[in-house]
Amino acid sequence: MIELVARLGRTGLRKLEAFGLAGIILMQSLIARPAPTVMFPLVVKQIHFVGVLSLIIIVVSGLFIGMVLGLQGYTILVDYGSEQAVGQMVALSLVRELAPVVTALLFAGRAGSALTAEIGLMKATEQLSSLEMIGVDPLRRIIAPRFWAGFICLPVLATIFSLVGILGGAFVGIDWLGIYEGSFWSNMQNSVDFREDVLNGLIKAVVFGFVVTWIAVFQGYDCVPTSEGISEATTKTVVYASLSVLGLDFILTALMFGDI
């Protein structure tokens, strides 16, 4: 029993220590950034890696999820004779929930794991040490641009996800199931509020982008520099990032929409 408590305490302390270290790394890479002229091309390059290369998976998933929403919404709403509300339902569920959450989950799997593996491998092959010896802080040169890129990309990707999803829903609803086009769109326009829905969805995406990228770069920077260490860190990135996204989503939703 005592043993159990002791072990719990030790694990807790270790987690706390890791969290503190992650915080320090975050602060150092964000505060002390190099001159904009150096930073800008690095960030652009990373945006290409984590953002542009994630586009395909985001667009395809957005399209299918939008189509499924359209289909499901129709089969439920048609019983009440209110199938014109499909547009509203698709748009609201995408903008408020599905776009930020699913994008963040896909982003964790596609870009987060790649970030962790890349940084971990740089550590294992002493590239980070060698940067330090050249007199460049790897936190600024390697971690910071990746962090900013993830932070910038996720809201953009989530927005694209929403747009494509709505198009998918419209395709199923209007072209396939024959909902009247005018009421589909006007219903959607009337019910989606910019501040309440679009802005809150974007805030979620920004928070998720921050958390997922933070976890990914920290796991890479902190990994044990061996092949097992890197594979373990990659797994951790996906698991921790996904769980944090889902947990945070609940908290954010409660804060944003809970007091109605």
């Binding site: 092959t125 040490s129 330090e132 050249i134 007199g135 802080d137």
Partner: protein, 269 residues
């Protein structure tokens, strides 16, 4: 034990351990300015660790490492990075940046620390690559190089800025006899012509004896012998003779610290 006229790196009472294993215990090492100093010793004694201590990547448990009067472990982050701009280090694994070409790897320190024009950078990079015989490989990516080539590119990168202090961690490993001869000459020439202080970690006794001005032999957390190559060659101590002649039996342990062999084998698992 001789005293040097001009010491650039002065290590005093250095102690460092990994876990329970002491790597250094109260070690004093002086590196003379403008000379080639070799650090030798059995595998796993902590030669690479020593270079990392000098570069400020590891902190000693106690003791000081003075470079030109500045104590490395006590420097702030900025001062440390300034100090490192004066050092070049060839890592044991090469440690080239895998996402940029050979040319960009060598150009990297120049771009960071100088305002040279693109043309000048090109000239310097090609000169350094030419010196290691790889001018023709400038457009290759590090993944397309052989082990020995990668190490030579890393060497070119380490000397790109003409640093005051160059640390070579096993520069000769994996080189064919021709490249080996070229590298030995290159290191000597850099040292004589430009006055670099060089620290070489190496297991190649003949090459090292040939170019080093001074040699430290490290084993069991201590400096077991120090002196010029001539002094080392005529050293009567058994440990030194064993190492220099490469004999498996003797006072210098070949094995990582372990329980008695026989007892280990007989022990039931």
């Amino acid at each position: 034990m001789e005293q040097f006229d001009d010491v650039i790196i002065d290590i005093q009472k250095l102690s460092f351990s990994r876990g329970d294993r002491a790597i250094y215990k109260n070690v004093d090492i002086q590196i003379p300015r403008g000379k080639i100093t070799a650090i030798m010793g059995p595998s796993g004694t902590g030669k690479t660790t020593l270079l990392k201590l000098i570069g400020g990547q590891l902190r000693p448990e106690s003791g000081s490492i003075f470079i030109d009067g500045k104590d490395i472990p006590r420097l702030g982050r900025r001062e440390l990075f300034e100090m490192r701009a004066r050092m070049g280090m060839l890592f044991q694994s090469g440690a080239l940046f895998t996402d940029i070409s050979v040319f960009e790897n060598v150009a990297f320190p120049l771009r960071i620390h100088t305002d040279l024009s693109e043309e000048m950078i090109r000239d310097v990079v090609l000169m350094k690559l030419h010196a290691v015989g790889l001018r023709g490989a400038r457009d290759l990516m590090p993944s397309e190089l052989s082990g020995g080539m990668a190490r030579r590119v890393a060497l070119a990168r380490a000397i790109a800025l003409d640093p005051d202090i160059v640390m070579y961690d096993e520069p000769f490993t994996g080189q064919d006899p021709i490249a080996m001869g070229v590298l030995v000459n290159l290191i000597r020439r850099l040292n004589r012509a430009l006055g670099h202080t060089s620290i070489i970690v190496s297991h190649d006794i003949q090459e090292t004896l040939a170019i080093a001005d001074y040699i430290y032999l490290i084993s069991d957390s201590e400096v077991i012998a120090r002196g010029t190559p001539e002094e080392m060659a005529s050293e009567s101590s058994q440990k030194v003779r064993q190492f220099i002649q490469g004999l498996p039996d003797g006072p210098v342990p070949f094995h990582f610290p372990a329980a008695d062999y026989q007892a280990d084998l007989l022990q039931d698992s």
